[in-house]
């Protein structure tokens, strides 16, 4: 494909509460074995993009650990590859990334030294499958300057946390509102854009000259009457994990067979960094219903409607319902957990009870000493 990829993965969201303390949003664990950036990276590789830059800033260590090799997404090639850009001090600049446009500006050489005619910009917090080459075809057919991937949300969804888009009959964007107070459209921006590379360089440079730093407000919204900005409507599942609620719901969606099969059983595949864990083990007291249990887990208790990430130990007579347990958690005997998200590497003592509310998911942080099993 004639495009270079950019993944904006620098962000942090206060609405992720304690979950964002030790990781970037793009490194949020999803569906037992994945991290949210895996979806954008897999889409890139499945769209035959060979060169991808990932821009990180907030807690970049968590992402760097996951991106320790480009092999896992098949970017380990002589030509192209996976490049991670954290803010750096140069002769001209010693600022952090002050916004999405600024992060691209500070790494403009990456775009200038590429030869691909187009750029795909994606965010690291979307969970979806999309063939970007279809978007590019649309982009070319519409003779667009910028194409924004959009998703029609079902009626009743609270869309005020998204960028909302209005289009004319042809699909050209006439109005773009970022996180409006009152929703006036159900078409939301997925944070995925296609721009011609030279066009993008020009806009980003102009933006920096005016001391503007944000891609959405300072480019998309400012240029909407000047440039031909089009909306590409994607079908299929799309979810964005910017809050605890949306994070919880996105994970729980994978308990739905249809959604799970869409991601994991239909072409193309989703790739991730693979750990060498032994298979999940269910001891005599275990009872597991409608749950995802990842490799390295040892289960002695009862699990229902839950997602267990890698290497979770569940003690005897435990009951875990409607919950997400992140990786490397030890749960002592007789403990009850409902409607919770248990933070990774937690050690939970025996005989504890943690009950959240379906509308207000509880985050469990328990950094106790762990005794050898």
């Amino acid at each position: 494909m004639k495009a270079v990829g950019i993944i904006l993965a620098g962000g942090n969201s206060k609405r992720m509460k304690e979950l964002s303390m030790k990781r970037a949003i793009a490194a949020m664990p999803i569906a037992g074995s994945y991290r949210s950036i895996d979806f954008a990276l897999s889409n890139m590789t499945n769209s035959h993009i060979k060169k991808v830059g990932v821009f990180t800033q907030y807690n970049s260590r968590s992402l760097n650990e996951h991106l320790n090799s480009s092999k896992w997404w098949d970017f380990g090639r002589k030509q192209g590859g996976l490049f991670v850009f954290t803010p750096m001090i140069t002769a001209e600049n010693s600022d952090w990334y002050r916004g999405t446009a600024d992060s691209i500006y500070q790494n403009l050489n990456f775009l200038k030294s590429s030869h691909e005619p187009y750029v795909i910009i994606a965010s690291g917090d979307g969970v979806y499958k999309l063939d970007y080459s279809k978007v590019l075809e649309y982009h070319v057919a519409k003779k667009a300057d910028i194409t924004v991937v959009c998703k029609e949300m079902p009626a009743g969804t609270d869309v005020t946390r998204f960028g909302l888009v209005h289009t004319d009959i042809d699909g050209r964007i006439t109005e773009f509102e970022e996180k409006p107070m009152v929703a006036t459209s159900s078409l939301v921006s997925c944070g995925v854009y296609i721009v011609r590379r030279r066009q993008l360089i020009e806009m980003i440079e102009k933006c920096a000259e005016d001391d503007r730093y944000d891609f959405v407000t300072d480019i998309l919204i400012r240029y909407k009457n000047v440039k031909r900005i089009y909306a590409y409507k994607m079908d299929g599942y799309w979810s964005n994990i910017s809050s605890v609620d949306s994070y919880y719901k996105t994970n729980m969606d994978f308990l739905d067979k249809e959604i799970r099969d869409y991601f994991f059983r239909t072409y193309p595949e989703v790739y991730s960094k693979v750990d060498d864990n032994p298979p999940a083990k269910y001891n005599p007291g275990a009872s597991v219903r409608n749950s995802l249990v990842s490799s390295g887990c040892i289960i002695n208790g009862e699990i229902e409607n839950s997602i267990l990430f890698k290497k979770v130990y569940v003690g005897n007579n435990c009951v875990i319902k409607n919950s997400i347990v992140l990786n490397d958690v030890y749960i002592g005997d007789n403990t009850r957990i409902e409607n919770c998200i248990v933070e990774s590497r937690d050690t939970i003592k025996a005989n504890m009870t943690y009950i959240g509310d379906p509308d207000n998911i509880k985050i469990v942080l328990e950094q106790n000493d762990r005794f050898v099993m």
Partner: protein
């Protein structure tokens, strides 16, 4: 010039007919094990965990599944610029082309491969054993004894000793005698089929016995070394080790993994 202290040669060419239909389409080392592994994962992982980054895998019988599993060695970090994993099937030569006719013959036909790496020691492994072992410790033992050949051996119950190749050692662990499946075993130390040879010693033996039909380590090479009074030592190993070459032992080794605390515990760090 390339120089590796020790390289491993992994014998993975056998049919494994005692595993019946399990090996009808795949070679024994590629048979699935323990829910997500293949048997060859264990010796390959042991190699990389012991600091050995050059492994030749000798294949012959039904290699397709084995080859795709090994690939370029990424899952074991054996994708290297120099060394790494190399699959070595039999190949045609200008004279005397033949299949691998025995375990030692397979090594003999790949002397060139080994010489490229100019090793001091060569580790010979089987592709049908389930165990975790640090070959580096075994190599230290080999060096400390100034040995020509070190054979890994483990104590087995004396009543089962007659199923194994038994080694008899003196007080310094030097092997004085071999007994192949003895009726009345005089020792309970069973050979595990894991050998460290000093390469010049092995090479000399392989050349010498090159005309030997079906040249085999147990039947020919080791007796030859023993006869010329080489320093042969037994390295005693006391961890978990299982030859899964029969349906019975294959079943047993798998089912042991579901014990509440398995003897062979893959979950501990």
């Amino acid at each position: 010039m390339i120089k590796k202290e020790m390289i491993a040669m992994l014998l993975a060419g056998g049919q494994g007919s005692r595993l019946g239909v399990l090996t009808a389409k795949v070679a024994k080392p590629a048979v699935a094990f323990g829910g997500k592994y293949r048997i060859i994962d264990f010796p390959l992982s042991n190699c990389i965990n012991s600091g050995i980054d050059t492994v030749g895998v000798l294949t012959q019988y039904q290699p397709l599944r084995l080859n795709t599993h090994i690939g370029i060695g990424i899952p074991w970090d054996l994708d290297r610029n120099v060394g790494g994993v190399t699959v070595l099937p039999p190949y045609e030569k200008s004279t005397n082309s033949e299949w691998y006719t025995g375990t030692a013959n397979a090594i003999y036909q790949n002397i060139n491969y080994i010489d490229v790496y100019n090793p001091d020691y060569v580790l010979i492994l089987s592709g049908d054993h389930i165990y975790k072992m640090d070959y580096e410790v075994m190599l230290e033992f080999h060096k400390a004894n100034n040995a020509d050949l070190t054979i890994a051996a483990m104590p087995v119950p004396i009543e089962e000793a007659s199923r194994f190749g038994i080694v008899i050692t003196d007080e310094n662990s030097r092997i004085t005698e071999f007994e192949e499946k003895p009726a009345n075993p005089r020792s309970n130390l069973a050979s595990m089929g894991i050998y460290i040879f000093s390469w010049p010693v092995l090479k000399e033996a392989l050349m010498k016995l090159s005309e030997q039909p079906g040249c085999d380590f147990g039947k020919h090479i080791i007796p030859y070394c023993h006869a010329k009074n080489d320093r042969i030592f037994a390295y005693e190993y006391n961890g978990y080790w299982k030859d899964v070459g029969t349906l019975g032992s294959y079943w047993e080794a798998n089912m042991e993994l579901i014990d509440i605390i398995p003897v062979f515990n893959l979950y501990e760090e």
